[in-house]
Symmetry: C2
Subunit: 133 residues, 2 copies
DNA sequence: GAAGAAACCGATTGACGATCGGTTTTTCAA
DNA sequence: TTGAAAAACCGATCGTCAATCGGTTTCTTC
């Protein structure tokens, strides 16, 4: 868990991933049909973006008859977590404090409600922690 | 503040930045002298990494006689904040919840002490918020 | 077995980081 | 004042990678 390295994602990759998250498992053709409204690209282009995402371990796929059905291997939440973790690791090494600081700095932008939610989430997390030991 | 886009940083760029953070303002030659132990690269290579960092707004520089003196334009903490913000924005759009969730997920890996620190930091933030209205 | 669909196989283009050599400019000391 | 040293500046190469696509092969199904 010391090296969470997640490869960076390109714009199309993210768009395609968003599509899968939103509409669930799909094959290249279906994704293309939906995505081509905003980007006029060939089916092949979508296909290779899906392929790349698969190689990166972010999408899973299963052959349905002779077409691949791609599905999200990680939730958005999980991906965000990994990306953030990876980012922090890169520039802050092992200093876990950097993570907390960044967190708080970001929380500055949060209003009271957000802070409240946050406290609740932490409290819950803490409860889980206590429980499991 | 809707577009926090921070350009991604390469490995050498980070190494050089770390060096500046650690040792303070320096010129290319000095950085090179320190960095070349771990990486045997030419002075020019370090120079262009510094230059890139400067163009990205991450380093500042001032001409001391005829040499540039580079100094950190942002603290590590600030940079981490920006990078994380940028990362989250990219894959989570405006969903501020994604950010909070991600952090809480990350906090799971923190032990009790970390969680406690986190609570303190949030409490302080909250106090500041209340104060200012 | 033929037609259509999808995978597969490159190939190209454009960014960009890392790397360096050579040229020009600047400084400073003899 | 001039010449050597130092540093900037210029630009070129290499490797990687995302985005893009056309053409070929393989597979399925009627």
């Amino acid at each position: 868990m010391t090296n969470p390295s997640v490869p960076p994602l390109g714009d199309l990759e993210i768009a395609v991933l968003e599509d899968i998250w939103r509409f669930g498992s799909s094959d290249a053709k279906t994704v293309h049909a939906r995505v081509k409204h905003s980007r006029s690209i060939a089916l092949n282009t979508v296909q290779s973006a899906l392929e790349r995402l698969f190689r990166k371990g972010i999408l899973q796929r299963e052959k349905i008859s002779h077409a691949y059905e791609y599905s999200a291997g990680v939730s958005r939440r999980e991906l965000v977590r990994k990306l953030v973790e990876s980012t922090v690791h890169r520039v802050a090494g092992t200093q876990s404090d950097a993570l907390l600081s960044a967190f708080v700095d970001l929380a500055v932008q949060a209003d009271g409600d957000q802070l409240k939610r946050l406290e609740e989430l932490i409290a819950r997390r803490r409860a889980e922690l206590d429980e499991s030991r």
